[in-house]
């Protein structure tokens, strides 16, 4: 039997993914554009933006995974793919030193424009993603966490 390990299966259009957010504008504009831009690193920017798959991770778990995260935004995978940039979301489960999957919900937002060589494209793509992203309010986060019996 050739069963896929959890997290290696393709990300379906119906799936929801989460992105942990830094401090936003205010309560009315909580999702900053840089949430959906590749981070500038030397010698070249990171290849993709990390997301978490809702089927494995709650919004709270996503938010608390990294320090000093202020909230979470959700992205509907189908809507991301429908944008005109060729954007996609691919599975990228994290593994330990021995190759065992330790974070099946990790996935990547790929094909984002390079923020160094195509700054304008990267800014515009980020704006389009902000428009389709939905901020998860503390109440929604709490409700989901309760319903799914999250671990955090």
């Amino acid at each position: 039997m050739n069963e896929r390990s959890p997290g290696t299966e393709p990300v379906e259009c119906e799936e929801i993914t989460y992105r942990a957010l830094k401090k936003g504008w205010d309560k009315g504009e909580p999702i900053p554009s840089e949430a959906f831009m590749r981070r500038v690193r030397e010698p070249e920017p990171e290849k993709a933006v990390s997301l978490s798959r809702r089927k494995y991770v709650t919004a709270r778990e996503c938010r608390l995974k990294l320090r000093r995260k202020f909230g979470t935004a959700s992205l509907h995978v189908g809507r991301v793919r429908a944008l005109s940039f060729g954007l996609d979301i691919a599975p990228d489960p994290l593994r330990d030193d021995r190759g065992a999957i330790i974070e099946p919900g990790h996935c990547l937002l790929i094909n984002l424009p390079d923020p160094v060589t195509d700054s304008e494209g990267a800014e515009f793509a980020a704006s389009q993603l902000v428009k389709i992203a939905r901020y998860i309010t503390p109440n929604q986060e709490e409700q989901e966490h309760r319903e799914r019996g999250g671990s955090v």
């Binding site: 205010d26 554009s33 981070r39 500038v40 000093r68 160094v116 700054s119 304008e120």
Partner: protein
């Protein structure tokens, strides 16, 4: 016109002797030291009110709060640090823009590009203005303007250009 020097600002707060005689020297450093960098009061939740009821003292307050936030940023966010040259470039342009037109100054949202660069964002309604100062001095700083699906970019911008974009942001066009 009040002028503020950016040199020797590595300690994270402005020093009294860096301010000109026209800028209430005695009160400013203490005033700055008392600030936190969260600046919630500087980003009120009703943009219309924020942009319309504006006075020069409020602009000065806002500008000083912005400077403090930039200077304190690395103490608040240990994961995303601002590089010194990006910080200095951002403060220099902002200072010059504020000096040219203090009544048009509004505090931006401050963030990094993940690699030491500074990202400043102003937003009003559907208009958004982003000023990006890369950490790598070989890369050009740029302004990104957006309104709905329209967008534009200005590379290697000056303070005068930033001021004119404040006009665009504030205008009803």
């Amino acid at each position: 016109m009040s002028r503020m020097s950016l040199k020797d600002s590595t300690a994270g707060t402005y020093q009294p002797n860096l301010f000109s005689s026209t800028m209430e020297q005695g009160s400013l450093p203490a005033e700055l030291l008392k600030r936190t960098s969260s600046l919630d009061s500087d980003k009120v939740t009703q943009p219309a009110r924020w942009w319309s009821s504006w006075t020069l003292p409020a602009a000065k307050e806002s500008f000083l709060a912005f400077c403090t936030e930039v200077l304190q940023y690395n103490k608040v966010d240990e994961d995303d640090q601002i590089a010194r040259n990006a910080r200095d470039a951002a403060l220099a342009i902002a200072e010059s823009a504020y000096s040219r037109a203090p009544n048009r100054w509004r505090s931006p949202r401050v963030a990094t590009d993940g690699g030491g660069g500074v990202r400043l964002t102003w937003k009003l309604g559907e208009k958004e203005l982003r000023a990006v100062f890369p950490a790598d001095a070989r890369r050009m700083q740029y302004l990104y303007l957006e309104r709905g699906d329209w967008h534009s970019m200005i590379k290697n911008f000056t303070a005068a250009t930033l001021c004119s974009q404040f006009d665009w942001l504030l205008s009803k066009r």
